[in-house]
């Protein structure tokens, strides 16, 4: 496939969205769907059907292009629909990549309804399998997969928190003390008791949004992480120690734990070995539990071991990993040097951010500058638009405003955030992205990374 010659078959619908529309009325309108199918007939039909569902549709006829596009427009899509049989890349491979790198729900479809293929979809983690010809009715309800996945991720977050109750509780409670109006020690004790007695689920949900702004795993941060992991040795690398070694202010044990989990999954995939990472219970495995055997092996080289033994500097490891993935996916059609600019694996790409935690995110618009020309999307609005805590936000999230102006979005976005979050957040205050990534545009929209929280993390308890 010659990237240069064949024009990118990309079309994007321009769903009309009127400012001021109620959130709940709109959903699931505005759901951002990426459709990948090499059959132009089917692609056109699907596009029209999805548009009729009031979804925001982007079509693509090549899996590799779709994957690269997704990487460049992280958090720009809610769900991916992909054909199984495609000439340049097996649909299941695309499914794996999307699941691993972007953690988006993926629906597979095919004219093939044989049980084995459908089963393959299941084992590879597809959230649904549609038999062609696809009818409108089947597409109308795809939003359920997005909601389901979000819910699952929130529950996961809760599990992680409960895993280190003491740590968490102390920190949380201490943090809360700072902002309680009462300075009375007696009151503090009371509030502690109250917290223990209150409904756990709600409590955790609330506190998790307050205390857990999304961490952006930039290249530098990930480098530090990998260095720390290698120093400790992958088997001995526990979040607490990694955190200590990294010594990044504001980073929590949970952030590290979550990132470590994903990192382990990634390594497993690379080496093609399926084993349970030490120190993790099954509940910590991500919602997308696919077998790892199908990733191409790195010619028997265990890069992880190499890195750990100190023969491979961590930076090289990251690059190698990216390169390996690159080799696996592009079949040598993309020259290796491109790895640096054209990310294969999220960790290595300064453009992409491996974002974990809550669904809030830093609306880092650095990606906007790296957009491919001609792709008619406004990434600012998209990124902001993916701020969704509840399914109800979807409708409002379709801020596909072609006008490129941020000022339009600013007043819109604020009221749509979770109120719990806004309580302690100074919305208009531009916040430093501690990970060192530049805030180019939209710096005023960093309200999901509360400045208030910065103070908390700098507490001596850390």
């Amino acid at each position: 496939m010659d990237l240069g010659m064949k024009p990118l078959t990309f079309t994007s619908s321009n769903a009309s969205w009127k400012p001021g529309d109620g959130v709940s009325d709109q959903f699931p309108a505005g759901l951002r769907v990426l459709v990948v199918d090499d059959d132009p007939t089917c692609l056109r039909i699907l596009e029209k059907m999805l548009k009729n569902c009031l979804y925001e549709v982007t079509t693509c006829n090549r899996a590799e292009i779709a994957l690269n596009f997704l990487r460049d427009h992280r958090n720009g899509y809610d769900i991916v629909i992909s054909d199984v049989h495609m000439p340049d890349m097996d649909g299941f491979k695309l499914l794996e990549h999307v699941g691993l790198e972007m953690d988006l729900p993926v629906i597979m479809m095919s004219a093939d309804d044989s049980k084995s293929v459908v089963m393959k979809g299941v084992t590879h983690g597809a959230c649904d399998y549609l038999i062609k010809p696809v009818r409108m009715e089947a597409l109308k309800n795809i939003w359920q997969h997005v909601v389901r996945k979000k819910k699952h991720e929130w529950k996961e977050k809760d599990f992680e928190q409960s895993g280190s109750v003491d740590d968490d509780r102390h920190q949380k409670l201490a943090d809360d003390v700072d902002y309680s109006s009462s300075a009375n020690e007696g009151d503090w004790k009371n509030s502690k008791k109250r917290k223990d007695e209150e409904d756990e689920a709600d409590e955790r949900d609330d506190t998790s949004t307050l205390k857990k702004p999304r961490v952006v795993w930039s290249v530098e941060l990930h480098q530090q992480f990998v260095t720390a992991v290698n120093q400790l040795g992958i088997d001995k690398a526990v979040p607490k120690k990694i955190l200590e070694l990294m010594n990044v202010p504001g980073l929590t044990r949970e952030n590290v734990a979550s990132h470590l989990q994903k990192y382990r999954l990634y390594l497993r995939r690379l080496s093609g070995v399926s084993h349970h990472p030490n120190g993790f219970s099954n509940s910590f495995i991500g919602p997308h539990d696919s077998p790892f055997g199908s990733m191409s092996s790195l010619n028997g080289v265990d890069l992880q071991a190499l890195a750990a033994s100190g023969q491979l500097p961590p930076q090289s490891l990251a690059t190698f990993q990216a390169a390996a993935l690159n080799r696996a996916t592009t079949k040598n059609s993309l020259p290796l040097p491109l790895v640096d600019q054209r990310n294969v694996f999220s960790f290595d790409n300064p453009k992409l951010r491996f974002v974990e935690g809550q669904q809030q995110q830093n609306s880092n618009s650095k990606q906007v500058n790296n957009l491919l020309h001609g792709i008619p999307t406004n990434m600012d609005s998209r990124q902001l638009a993916s701020l969704h805590q509840s399914a109800q936000s979807f409708g409002n999230m379709n801020m596909h405003v072609r006008s490129q102006s941020n000022s339009l979005l600013m007043p819109m976005v604020q009221p749509q955030s979770r109120t719990q979050n806004l309580n302690e957040v100074n919305v208009s205050q531009p916040v430093l992205d501690r990970n060192g990534v530049d805030n180019v545009r939209g710096s005023t929209l960093y309200f999901c990374f509360p400045s208030v929280a910065c103070c908390r993390f700098l507490k001596p308890e850390q």
Partner: protein, 162 residues
């Protein structure tokens, strides 16, 4: 001719195509998708189908002409054709493709050649009929749809076959 009459002709012809199995319910789905914002939707999609099919049929001809027939490749092409024909509701083409795949599994080159012939035939048939219905590229000759449009009428559709 009166618009009414034209519309009735259109419906009758569509009905016929459904009854004879050239088209199935999926075609109705396409018609449902046609609206003011996309007034040529059905024609557009059908045109895409024609283009794609002709390419596939060509590839199939070449593939079956080889010394060593690559049955996997053939199967892939036929699968594609099956998918696109089913998407527009070209039922007979789709069914022929299904039979084609079975023969392909047997790795029967002779059988495949026969199937290819059949598919080509079915394809040409449905193409002619769809063109007669939607749009004909022959000057001075108008399809049923074109006649309705020229007379200022709306394109009717059958509800029974949805």
């Amino acid at each position: 001719m009166e618009v009414d009459q034209l519309q009735r002709n259109f419906l009758e012809y569509t009905n016929l195509l459904f009854r004879e199995g050239f088209l199935d319910g999926q075609f109705s789905q396409l018609q449902l998708l046609q609206d003011e914002s996309n007034p040529d939707f059905v024609f557009e999609v059908v045109s895409l189908f024609f283009e794609d099919s002709e390419r596939l049929l060509n590839d199939l001809t070449i593939a079956l002409d080889q010394q060593n027939v690559d049955f996997k490749k053939i199967d892939a092409h036929v699968h594609q054709l099956k998918g696109s024909s089913s998407s527009i509701g070209a039922q007979r083409v789709k069914n022929t493709c299904i039979a084609f795949r079975d023969v392909c599994l047997e790795q029967n080159a002779e059988g495949c050649l026969r199937c290819l012939q059949q598919v080509k035939q079915e394809y040409l048939l449905v193409k002619t009929k769809l063109e007669a219905l939607l749009r004909v590229r022959v000057p001075h000759l108008f399809s049923l749809e074109q006649q309705i449009v020229a007379a200022g009428g709306a394109i009717p559709m059958l509800n029974d076959f949805c």
